[in-house]
Amino acid sequence: MKRIAGAAVMLSAGILAMALVVSMFELPPPAVRLPQMVQEKLPQSGVEHPVTAVLLNFRGYDTLLEVAVLLLALLGMLAGERPRPAAPDRAPTDPVLPGLTRFLVPLMGLTAVYLLWAGAHRPGGAFQAAAVLAAAAVLLHLTDLLPAWTSLRLRLRTGLAGGLLVFITVAAWLLGEGRLLQYPVAHAGSLILFIEVALTISLGLILAGLFLFLPDDDERRR
């Protein structure tokens, strides 16, 4: 019975793949030429790279909501798991890994700042920079240099929610001037950089929190 069900699922998945591939070749050419529209409006966006322009200017509200989703995912995780009490110290691991981490983490911080700055004119931006920062935090935790986060202190809460709050504040302030997230052309560049800095810090903390809040040794303690 189980084998028949498995074969049926495999067969349906195969048919689904075929149908998807065939229908993609049947697609008519897009009615709206988005790349040209983006290129035309790029000088008004305040940045020179089209992806960053779309991300934080033309479709800024999408990014705003996605940051909210990230924060919600972390809150949902914390609602299920209380932050763990401090774990007992583990025996020091082999000296090479912490040594290498001490060397790498400052470089990762530097890379994050570069990625954030580069977002204005080449591939890069807040999301990439935040991912590098979070990776640095995870690396520090895995080498026992950074303890797991056990409590939600006010400073940490501010950091986690700060990016979203800054984004919403800018959006609300611009609502008074015109439309939601419609930056004035003269200040678009600095507003985007301001939002991106706040987003980098918050997203880095959120992504690191997804790892650092999870209890790793509760099985042993119980």
């Binding site: 992806v51 996605e66 990230l70």
Partner: protein
């Protein structure tokens, strides 16, 4: 056949593989991994179809960029839920229909 269409086609195949992976295994970790493969397939389709005319389209690229980060967060949430289930029931499988309230 442009490179974009090759990406989009691989994305569609990955998506279908992910669907089978969500339905077939009972272990939750494998289901979560399969769900991620589905997501990667969808991202490939978006980016691939966006550049099928040969020039890259920044709009789907920006959507996928945030989508990847959201997928990481959603995976973490799913893993946290799976851990909680494991702690409560001792199993990494969803309970069968008959046992659900």
């Amino acid at each position: 056949m442009t490179t974009g269409m090759i990406f989009a086609g691989s994305g569609a195949i990955l998506f279908a593989m992910g669907v089978a992976g969500v339905l077939l295994p009972t272990h939750l970790l494998r289901k979560i991994l399969a769900f991620n493969i589905m997501g990667s397939g969808a991202f490939l389709v978006l980016v691939g179809l966006g550049q099928r005319s040969g020039e890259p389209d920044p709009v789907p690229q920006a959507m996928v960029l945030t989508g990847i980060v959201v997928a990481v967060a959603a995976t973490a949430l799913a893993l946290a839920l799976a851990r909680r289930l494991q702690r409560l029931t001792g199993r990494m499988e969803l309970p069968p229909e008959a046992e659900r309230d």
